[in-house]
Amino acid sequence: MTTGPAIQLKGLSLSYGDVVAVDDVSLDIPGGEIHCLLGASGSGKSTLLRIIAGLERQGEGSVTIGGEVVSDAEGHIETERRPVGFVLQDYALFPHLDALENVLFGMPDRKSAESRMKAEELFAEVGLSDRVDAMPHTLSGGEQQRVALARAMARSPQVMLLDEPFSSLDVQLRAGVRETTLRILREAGVATVMVTHDPAEALSCGDRVSILREGKLIQTGSPEAIYHHPCGQEAAETFGVINRLAGESSGGRVKTSLGEVDLAAQDPGCPGTVLLRPEQLVLVESGDGGCRVDRIFPEGSTTLYLVQTAEDERLYVRMLSTETLPEDSSLAVRLR
């Protein structure tokens, strides 16, 4: 096997008229990694996926899969000759073929007994052995997703592309299907790019996560790094509300009105401020309090409080929902 990354994107750009869909994106994805592309709709994440698949051709830059350049200014290998599997957002099962025929569709020798056996193994893996003969319109959403996955896996692709694969499933179903999907992908050791607009899903599914915004890749890293060390306010706000505090930096630490924090949490684009997630703060009982809870947002296991400080700052504080709140008159916000 090649030692380089399974997918290598270099300087990819694509515009439709005046609209820049993808703007100078470079990214290396090693074999076996599950990489989540996180972004709002219109951020260019799906377009990036289609460029890797070869369904769109970039204006500039190059795509390398398994060490082979599949598209650059010189040439362009068509989608059907790329070693990619693609699970589309609406699954796009062929409505005139049953589940088995759908899975066999992309196999090199569809009529052979081996192909049929491999297909049936895939059905067993996705837990659909009893739906082999079902027509697509009789399958539930989750079943359709799993047939689409089996269909894409049947070609043993080097790269798997998933476009919002779980977004049309209901929540109870989603966790199960997601687990099955990730297990199969990890067992196969296939490099996977998964597009999602759900931050929690990106963090829980991805070995690494990339945040896209207006066609630009603004940060790539492990889920922990992305969450705890965002490169700026845009990246930080991807995961929900954020607190901005003024602070003075000295010797790797930043001094704020609430105390000292690590420099890593600072907004590099804006020296003199620090970004703090709500769970980095805590509400405590204190004599010099004077804080007031403005609004309460129950989140299930946690509760988010919007707090008005004595200095008229508005801060978000996240506490476990089992923690009880002190009396209003003596509230203070502290760093955890």
Partner: protein
């Protein structure tokens, strides 16, 4: 540079479009020729009448078919009432009757000596001049006849559109408080609009190209004017110039249609497109629905057929037997071959449009469908000129080398007929298959390609199976239209080659309607077979999946 295997497809399709457009170019080219004063004379005398009659006819027939076709389609798809299963397919029956036959039958039924007025006089005791009765041989009469003939195109398009609507969309609108009536106006109609408009566009083009019925009703339109200018005055150039004007009008219609289509490109947002279960109508409303469906079937099919039957039994053609079988065979042969070739060409062009919707490809596809709007007679002239030119060249060469020439091996044979039909009817598969393609989600193509399917495999493994209904529908519509076709057949047929339509026309022109009735019945019968098969397309899919008797 970019490897592009699709380029060959593109070139092939452009060549196809060019061949189809050849007769149109050959006609248009005459705009630069001198008509020796005939044009000036036409402009001074009848041109204004041609224009106003053609526009009024197109407007009347367009509105009439829209009303009748959409109403009927909505009734049979959204409601259940006595006879709905029968009407669902019976409403297509008028497709089997060519407009000139409808004109012969209606004129015969409603004229002074016909059964309708005779019955009126006998029951009331009136005599001539005591009462007013609408004149069939008039513009209004022609509109009436053509609406009865052509509404099935709109009905078919609208029904297909309504049936492909997802129940969830309808249900969503119900939860938003839309009544059955406002659902129709605000949800169903807008969503089905591309289908409906395609149907109406076909009707209007057919109306502008209409010759037989309009001629029989003595309404002077561009179509009849072109024919008379060429046949009566022998001025090919002036006839071609008149038809170039008509071509301009049609071009305008095409531009309108494309703008409309572009602004109304709907894809199915939901995964399953199960049509909504019909609502049960009761009492007076059920009978009103029954009547609204019964009238078009009665007027557009039963009355003419019964009249022709009656005439056949009372008199009929004196030369039935092997002559008939031969003529019917000829008709079926040219119709079958034309349908097959047209569907293959239509598929090539529409799949190019889907795969590579560049503006030049869109233009090629659009151009190839223009022939439908052009009167059959004009296409015939347009076909003859280039064929003569090719034959002349070939004969010059072979005579100088072999001292022998193949003569009129194109224009004097069945090839000319088939070529003319192809030019005329290619628009049908383009429209029908194009609409079929629009119902296949584009992600299906993406999925096939990421699974390694080549262009050919995508076509044969995915598109063709999904388009089966559309292909079948297109072939049948072409088949039926070729059977009915008259003016191009009259001009292009080889000397020893007659069809049923030609024989009926000749008898009817001689006012020998009683004898013509046998041939007319045969044409209608032949046309019925594909129409009955066509009705299968309209079987609602929920019939076999939804529990019966369940109505919202």
């Amino acid at each position: 540079m970019k490897s592009n295997p699709g380029r060959y497809w593109s070139v092939a399709c452009f060549a196809l479009a060019a061949v189809v457009l050849l007769p149109i170019f050959s006609v248009t080219w005459n705009l630069t020729q001198d008509s020796e004063g005939v044009w000036g004379h036409l402009a001074e005398t009848v041109l204004g009448k041609y224009i106003s009659n053609t526009l009024l006819l197109a407007l009347g027939v367009g509105c009439g078919t829209l009303l009748v076709g959409v109403l009927a389609a909505w009734l049979v798809t959204a409601f259940s009432f006595p006879g709905v299963g029968f009407f669902r397919w019976a409403l297509l029956l008028p497709l089997a009757i060519p407009s000139y036959l409808m004109a012969y039958a209606m004129t015969d039924l409603l004229q002074f000596s016909g059964p309708a007025q005779t019955w009126l006089r006998e029951t009331t005791g009136w005599s001539r001049g005591d009462y007013w009765f609408p004149q069939v041989r008039s513009l209004a009469g022609a509109v009436f006849i053509l609406v009865l003939c052509l509404y099935p195109y709109v009905y078919l398009a609208a029904t297909t559109g309504f049936l492909s609507l997802s129940a969830s969309v309808i249900e969503a609108s119900r939860t938003l408080g839309a009544s059955s009536w406002s659902r129709f106006w605000r949800v169903v109609l807008p969503l089905a609009r591309p289908s409906i408009f395609a149907g109406v566009a076909l009707v209007v083009m057919e109306t502008m190209a209409e010759f037989g019925a309009v001629d029989y009703c003595a309404v002077d339109t561009f179509s009849t004017g072109i024919y008379r200018t060429w046949m009566g005055r022998g001025s090919f150039v002036a006839a071609a110039q008149l038809s170039t004007c008509l071509l301009g009008a049609v071009g305008l219609l095409y531009l309108l249609e494309s703008r409309f289509r572009k602004s109304a490109k709907f894809h199915h947002a939901t995964q399953r497109t199960q049509p909504p279960a019909p609502a049960r109508l009761k009492g007076a409303r059920a009978w009103a629905a029954f009547a609204a469906c019964a009238v078009p079937v009665l007027g557009g099919f039963l009355l003419p057929v019964v009249r022709f039957l009656q005439l056949t039994v009372e008199g009929g053609d004196s030369r039935t037997g092997e002559l008939f079988i031969g003529l019917a065979g000829n008709s079926a042969l040219v119709a079958g071959v034309t349908a097959l070739v047209a569907v293959v060409c239509g598929l090539l062009l529409t799949q190019l449009r889907r795969r590579a919707p560049s503006s030049s490809n869109l233009f090629a596809v659009r151009a190839a469908g223009l022939g439908y709007a052009i009167p059959g007679g004009v296409i015939a002239i347009g076909v003859l000129a280039p064929l003569w030119w090719i034959e002349g060249g070939v004969n010059d060469v072979t005579e100088s080398v072999l001292a022998w020439g193949p003569g009129l091996f194109l224009s004097g044979t069945i090839f000319a007929v088939l070529f003319g039909y192809q030019v005329r009817f290619l628009a049908i598969p383009l429209n029908v298959i194009g609409a079929g393609f629009e119902r296949i989600r584009s992600t299906v193509d993406d999925a096939a390609r990421t699974l390694g399917a080549s262009r050919l495999r995508l076509l044969f493994g995915v598109h063709l199976p999904l388009l089966r209904g559309s292909l079948f529908c297109a072939a049948l519509m072409v088949f039926v239209d070729v059977l009915k076709e008259l003016p191009a057949t009259l001009i292009l047929r080889p000397f020893n080659f007659d069809t049923l339509a030609v024989r009926v026309y000749q008898l009817a022109s001689d006012e020998r309607l009683s004898e013509a009735s046998t041939g007319a019945l045969a044409i209608i019968l032949a046309g019925l077979v594909p129409v009955v098969l066509l009705t299968r397309v309209l079987k609602p899919t929920h019939a076999d999946s939804a529990p019966p008797g369940k109505s919202p």
